[in-house]
């Protein structure tokens, strides 16, 4: 018990530092954020065409939606007539399958001249393989061209961008609630340079309503809600394109919670969706005649999840959460609630 009261006193004394500490802890776990690498994400991806880029970015695309739909609530109890304001930071990460650090994609090519002009008029197959965006940053991928069952050409792909099995995201959050059982939440950061990822902007908003506001003394608190998010990464090629990355994610959820003293155990089920559009101008490193616009959209696979979490009120609210769908997502948050 001394340890508990010691922590509580520590939290009271240093509560201003807890959000930063939470971010640092998560970053220490997931690994260093890509900073001074040789190539930014934009510089890497503009060296490859559509098929390669789709495979290369697939773990990023699939993980980002679940990340955006994570840690949307830490309690299902929203007061009916007690205004509550909160602000803080949430950090989350999707733990990728080990095999998602590499890929291999096979594409039928009607005219191999689209990849190697010296093979114009010959049909064949391209085998694209190597690290994904979360793979080895020291190893280039490879593109092998086959015609009539025989290898006829081989080219370098691109290395990984960040060698990690964690796809992370961190966001500040504010909420206002406690009126008629409603709670409105906003997550936002303006366009900010995130190292080699590029200039990124993020906004998310949602609304929750708690049945506990009208259902007196329920065995557990119940709540429904939704949250919509959008994250963009700026395209720096200055050729009039849209953003390099446009992503959006939606979540519609049902939550339940039960509190004992300072602890709140919560869980929920959500229906969710996500999609991402990637746009850039492909610049072939060997054949400038092959340069072309690339634009593709991918929908996230994850359509639902179960959530389990615990929140601890030690002057600030600290919560830990795990989400289980096609992808496993973990999150922590620190919120000051008034």
């Amino acid at each position: 018990m001394r340890i508990f009261w010691g922590f509580r006193n520590f939290a009271a004394k240093y509560r201003g530092w807890l959000p930063a500490l939470a971010v640092l802890v998560v970053l220490a776990v997931v690994g260093p954020v890509p900073g001074a690498q040789a190539d930014s994400l934009q510089e890497l991806i503009e060296q490859v065409g559509t098929d390669y880029a789709e495979a290369y970015t697939s773990p990023f695309i699939q993980a980002f939606g679940p990340n955006q739909n994570t840690n949307l609530f830490a309690t299902a109890n929203i007061p009916f007539g007690n205004l509550t304001i909160g602000f803080g930071v949430k950090v989350m990460g999707t733990y990728l399958n080990e095999s998602d650090q590499t890929f291999q994609k096979v594409v039928d090519i009607p005219d191999l001249g689209d990849i190697d002009p010296s093979l114009a008029g010959q049909s064949g197959t391209a085998v694209m393989s190597g690290p994904t965006i979360f793979g080895d940053t020291e190893t280039d991928g490879q593109i092998d061209l086959y015609a009539n069952g025989v290898l006829v050409g081989t080219f370098d792909g691109i290395p990984g961008f960040w060698n990690s099995r964690w796809a992370p995201l961190a966001t500040p959050e504010v909420f206002v609630g406690g009126l008629f059982g409603f709670k409105a939440t906003l997550r936002y950061f303006p366009p900010v340079g995130l190292g080699d990822l590029g200039k990124t902007s993020y906004v998310g908003y949602g609304l929750q309503w708690s049945a506990s506001s009208v259902w007196k003394d329920p065995p557990v608190d119940l709540m429904i809600g939704f949250f919509l998010t959008s994250l963009d990464v700026e395209n720096t090629q200055n050729l009039g394109q849209d953003n390099l990355i446009d992503s959006s994610a939606d979540s519609y959820f049902l939550g339940a919670s039960k509190s004992w003293a300072i602890f709140t155990l919560y869980g929920g089920f959500a229906l969710e969706s996500s999609d991402m559009t990637v746009t850039y101008y492909y610049q072939d490193p060997d054949y400038p005649t092959l340069d072309s616009n690339v634009n593709f959209s991918v929908e996230g696979n994850q359509s639902s999840r179960f959530t389990l979490g615990v929140d601890v009120d030690v002057l600030v609210h600290v919560n830990l959460e795990a989400g289980f769908g096609d992808l496993s997502t973990y999150s922590a948050g620190v919120m000051f609630v008034f």
């Binding site: 697939s58 998602d100 025989v150 003293a261 601890v312 992808l327």
Partner: protein, 237 residues
């Protein structure tokens, strides 16, 4: 310890155990999302093209058993010769040659006295033939050999059999040679056959001493192969 505090600790512990249980139940790992596709199985024509390249390589490499006249011995062992094809030629790579008198159970001898020989690829070595399949298509491949056969010094021929492997990119096929008669004069095998398995297809290339050889896929004569270029031509009924 006060009952309330004990209860609080118990509830907190239960919550964390539930969270840990959820992790264990579902596993900590996500489903895979990155594509993991493989090349489709070869078509009949693709299998035939692979066999054609082996046939060209065998026709160019096999005669070394009767045309070799080098002097450098491997580790000064009589009758054991390493050979590297000269740069700029239509074959690149290295092979080992061993010569015997008294047949396969005989003793090592100099190449000029041998009545039996081995031709094989040392270690991971492969040889490759420079061919042009037309349209700017220069295949990238390697072939390893493990051949043996009787040598007829008077006629400058050898009848070889054995096995080998054909590799091109991620594709690897095994093949066998049966009684292929290699000769020093024209360089085109006078007889014998090569059998290659590629996917569900079995390809048999039959030599007849000319610059072309017949290619049958799954026992159906479908092509002929030019032993100088590796180009397949369909058989016209």
């Amino acid at each position: 310890m006060k009952p309330g505090i004990r209860k609080t600790r118990g509830i907190g512990l239960a919550a964390l155990l539930l969270l840990a249980g959820g992790l264990l139940l579902n596993g900590c790992e996500s489903d895979a999302t990155a594509p993991r596709e493989n090349l489709p199985p070869p078509t009949a024509q693709e299998a035939a093209q692979q066999a054609a390249l082996v046939a060209v390589s065998a026709a160019k490499v096999g005669p070394k058993l009767v045309t070799f006249n080098g002097t450098v011995l491997a580790e000064k062992e009589l009758g054991v010769y390493p050979y590297t094809f000269p740069e700029g030629g239509n074959i690149t790579g290295s092979i080992m040659l061993e010569f015997f008198t008294g047949g396969p159970t005989g003793t090592h001898s100099a190449w000029g006295d041998a009545d039996y020989g081995l031709l094989y690829s040392p270690g991971e070595e492969m040889v490759t033939a420079s061919v042009d399949l037309g349209g700017g298509v220069g295949p990238i491949f390697g072939v390893s050999f493990d051949l043996h056969g009787d040598i007829n010094q008077a006629q400058d021929t050898a009848t070889v059999s054995g096995t080998g492997t054909f590799v091109t990119g991620d594709i690897s096929d095994d093949f066998s040679l049966t009684n292929v008669v290699v000769q020093a004069l024209s360089g085109y095998p006078e007889g014998g056959s090569l059998t290659l398995k590629a996917g569900s297809h079995e390809v048999v290339v039959t030599y007849d001493g000319s610059s072309t050889a017949g290619v049958a896929v799954n026992a159906v004569a479908m092509f002929t192969v030019d032993l100088d270029t590796g180009i397949l031509s369909p058989v016209i009924d």
